[in-house]
């Protein structure tokens, strides 16, 4: 029995002080007994007692009422004190101590837990409330009160309908009732009208169960308004982004510029409708194939591509693409590298603008300028030459006449030589004249005289001017003029130069074709917005190779000394300025036909004329 007790007390690790009368070291029977039953003797002197805490029991080994008083004074509380002869009750006491101690510890833990829970509830960044089974508020934490903007005493005991506008929290009540009914933890989200604003909340509801009975519920309310707002903003931004993307896609897709994407290897990923229009390929034909195949000079494109891969961007002002019909298109090109999220090259955007027309206009302008410069010089020179030439020709003619009339006195051989010499002199003068006269054709009137005119009258005037040449070459001129051709506004001076040049060419062409009667046919017709004048001769024709080049400056097919290479270049230039055009067709050895088209309505803004009056 004693051994069992000793074990038990050791297990309990009772802190028991035996206060004894003999002081430390004295081996009294009570002390011996205490040791025997497993009570550890922590102190043996009364004076030490005050420094001791958390004693479970004090055992006195002698009848010493004054010591008991001292102990009671030193240690407040209901510490059990045992007398010296109460061995029998020790067992009971120990049990008491056991129970007491366990109770004390449980209640302490409970208190601590409660404290901590309350602290948590008060300070939590969540609104927390407690409702009873009638859904009246029993408790609300600070956050909840703040959220509602209400004082605790006004909220407790109230239902939601007292705190929220009519129906404002109905959805929450439904979940609360469900929680009470099912005794399960439930969640819900919704809007609460709080302080005049809509608050988006997320609520978690816990059933409050005590002794198996449902007592009410806990509610945890999380304000998700900001989250909701940012989600909505995000959504809006998302929508805007996708709209912008759609817009950009449409812009890119419908741009008249050539726009395509390639992968970093240069294979086409996309091909917009501008590219389809300009280059003639359909998207399906080219997507997946290397972009450089579209280029007239794939090598140059390769260099540009490599540069863009290296520097992120590359440009070229004049690159050439080749259309499906194998025509070259001049573009300025801009390549931009786009990196993927991993920082590696993802794709290349290539934007090209077709500048072929602009470049052609620029070339025309340069050509015009060059012609004007040549014209200035040429007409100055021609003028200076024409005057002495007139003298030479007059004198040659005089000598010729005198030889004919009075040269009979000369030996016939001398007369023959001189006659022939004079004839050659005339011939050479005419040769120079051809050159100087065509050089004069360059000179332009500073204010081009746009007037109402009639093409038939103009052609008659030109034929008149060329009467001598036509008669001399015995060429037949057939005029087939359309009746009722409308008069139109153009520059008769400039057009006169055009037709004089063309008719003169025709006269020369038939003169060079021996063995048949020269015929020039001049045909005028009306065609929609143009008056068309066709001048056809049955002369020597123009070699195929030359047909393309005859409008170029200084290009001539005539024998040396006959042509200057200026005339047709002037014709082309003038018609271009008047908004018209000229074409040539010819069968070498048989015929040549020039077709001139003049617009009935002159161009709104005449092309710039850089020529300077002389």
């Amino acid at each position: 029995m004693l051994a069992g007790l000793a074990n038990r007390s050791r297990l309990l690790r009772l802190k028991i002080v035996a206060v004894i009368d003999l002081g430390p070291g004295t081996d009294s029977p009570a002390r011996q007994h205490a040791l025997n039953i497993g009570i550890s003797l922590i102190s043996s002197h009364v004076t030490d007692l005050s420094s001791l805490e958390r004693l479970d029991l004090i055992v006195l080994t002698a009848e010493m009422p004054e010591i008991v008083t001292q102990v009671r004074d030193a240690l407040p509380g209901d510490l059990p004190i045992m007398g010296p002869n109460s061995h029998d009750v020790i067992h009971g006491l120990i049990r008491l101590v056991d129970i007491n101690r366990s109770l004390r510890s449980d209640s302490r833990r409970l208190k601590e837990t409660r404290l901590r829970l309350n602290q948590f509830i008060e300070t939590a960044p969540l609104a927390i409330y407690v409702k009873d089974v009638d859904l009246r508020y029993r408790k609300m934490n600070k956050h909840a009160l703040n959220m509602l903007g209400i004082r605790e005493e006004l909220a407790l005991g109230k239902r939601d309908r007292a705190l929220f506008p009519e129906g404002g929290a109905r959805w929450l009540q439904k979940i609360e009732q469900e929680t009470l009914r099912t005794r399960q933890t439930l969640h819900g989200s919704g809007v609460l009208p709080i302080q005049g604003q809509e608050m988006h909340v997320h609520v978690t509801l816990f059933p409050l169960i005590e002794n198996g009975l449902i007592e009410g519920l806990y509610g945890l309310v999380e304000d998700t308004t900001e989250l909701y707002e940012s989600e909505r903003k995000l959504h809006r931004v998302d929508e805007q982004l996708s709209e912008t993307q759609k817009y950009l896609r449409e812009v890119l897709e419908n741009s008249r510029d050539i726009i395509f994407l390639t992968d970093p290897e240069g294979n086409l990923l996309s091909f917009n409708s501008g590219a389809e229009t300009v280059l003639g390929y359909s998207r399906d034909e080219v997507v997946g194939t290397p972009a450089h195949r579209l280029c007239a000079t794939p090598g140059a494109f390769g260099h540009l591509f490599a540069e863009a891969l290296r520097d992120g961007h590359a440009m070229s002002y004049e690159s050439e693409f080749r259309t499906k019909d194998l025509e070259n298109v001049i573009v300025n090109i801009s390549l931009t590298l786009i990196d993927g999220p991993d920082g590696k090259p993802l794709e290349l955007v290539c934007i090209c603008r077709d500048i072929t027309t602009r470049l052609r206009l620029k070339q025309d302008l340069i050509r015009s300028e060059r012609l004007a410069a040549v014209g200035q010089m040429a007409s100055g020179v021609a003028h200076e030459i024409n005057n002495p030439l007139a003298v030479i020709d007059t004198i040659a003619g005089l000598v010729e006449e005198m030889l004919a009339d009075e040269g009979k006195v000369l030996p016939s051989e001398t007369r023959g030589i001189l006659t022939r010499a004079m004839d050659r002199l005339h011939h050479q003068v005419r040769r120079v004249t051809t050159i100087t006269h065509s050089m004069l054709g360059f000179v332009r009137t500073p204010e081009a005289g746009m007037v109402k005119m009639n093409v038939g009258e103009l052609l008659d005037e030109c034929l008149n001017l060329l009467g001598t040449e036509i008669r001399r070459s015995r060429t037949e001129v057939r005029r087939i003029f359309a009746l009722d051709l409308p008069s139109f506004v153009s520059d008769p001076m400039l057009l006169e130069q055009v037709f004089v040049n063309l008719i003169k060419n025709a006269v020369d062409a038939v003169a060079e074709a021996p063995g048949r009667k020269g015929v020039i046919e001049i045909l005028t017709t009306l065609d929609d917005n143009h008056i068309r004048i066709s001048i056809e001769d049955n002369g020597v024709g123009i070699p195929k190779a030359d047909q393309e080049k005859i409008f170029n400056l200084f290009h001539t097919t005539k024998p040396a000394g006959k042509g200057t290479g200026l005339g047709l270049s002037i014709v082309h230039d003038i018609l271009h300025r008047l908004g018209g055009n000229v074409r040539v067709a010819s069968e070498p050895g048989h015929w040549t036909r020039f077709v001139v088209e003049i617009p009935l309505v002159p161009p709104e803004t005449p092309l710039p004329d850089p020529s300077v009056s002389i």
Partner: protein, 166 residues
């Protein structure tokens, strides 16, 4: 009017290029024309104060006077004179344009002599036809508008003298 065709054409030739004037005049005279030479604009104008011409061949650019001024002054003195404008310059400038409008025709140097002769004859015929028409018109006006027969005779005699002298 066969009488008039046999009457030599009275031609004024004005150019500062002396060689041209000299030799051209020589050749034209050989073709039966009555030629007066002028080596400047001023000479041409002063010649026209003394003599009446059917046709004047005038160089467009002379040092002292613009061809257009010469043409204007000649036409002011002799309204019926026909002018052939001679030019080494094909330039379509304003003087050229004005000259072309007043002249019967323009000729680019170096010109073909035969063409020149032809044009001179054409211009003379043109002038005479025009004058004849004018004379008849004025005579018609006289006949229908004037009152006494005496006046008609006097006035028509005046008119006849005016047109014959020209």
């Amino acid at each position: 009017m066969s009488e008039e065709t046999t009457k030599p054409i009275r031609l004024l030739i004005a150019d500062d290029e002396e060689d041209l004037v000299t030799f051209l005049s020589h050749r034209l005279r050989k073709r039966g024309l009555d030629v007066t030479m002028a080596l400047s604009g001023a000479e041409a104008v002063s010649a026209a104060t003394e003599l009446t011409f059917d046709v004047a061949v005038v160089d467009l650019k002379m040092p002292d006077m613009d061809g257009i001024q010469v043409i204007e002054q000649l036409k002011a003195m002799q309204p019926h004179i026909e002018v052939l404008m001679l030019t080494g310059h094909g330039g379509h400038d304003t003087a050229w344009e004005a000259g072309r409008l007043q002249a019967y025709r323009y000729i680019l140097k170096p010109h073909d002599f035969e063409d020149l002769i032809t044009l001179v004859h054409e211009a003379t015929d043109h002038r005479r036809r025009k004058m004849k028409q004018e004379f008849e018109t004025r005579l018609d006006e006289l006949m229908t508008g004037t009152t006494s027969p005496r006046d008609i005779i006097d006035e028509s005699e005046k008119l006849r003298r005016e047109y014959e002298q020209d």
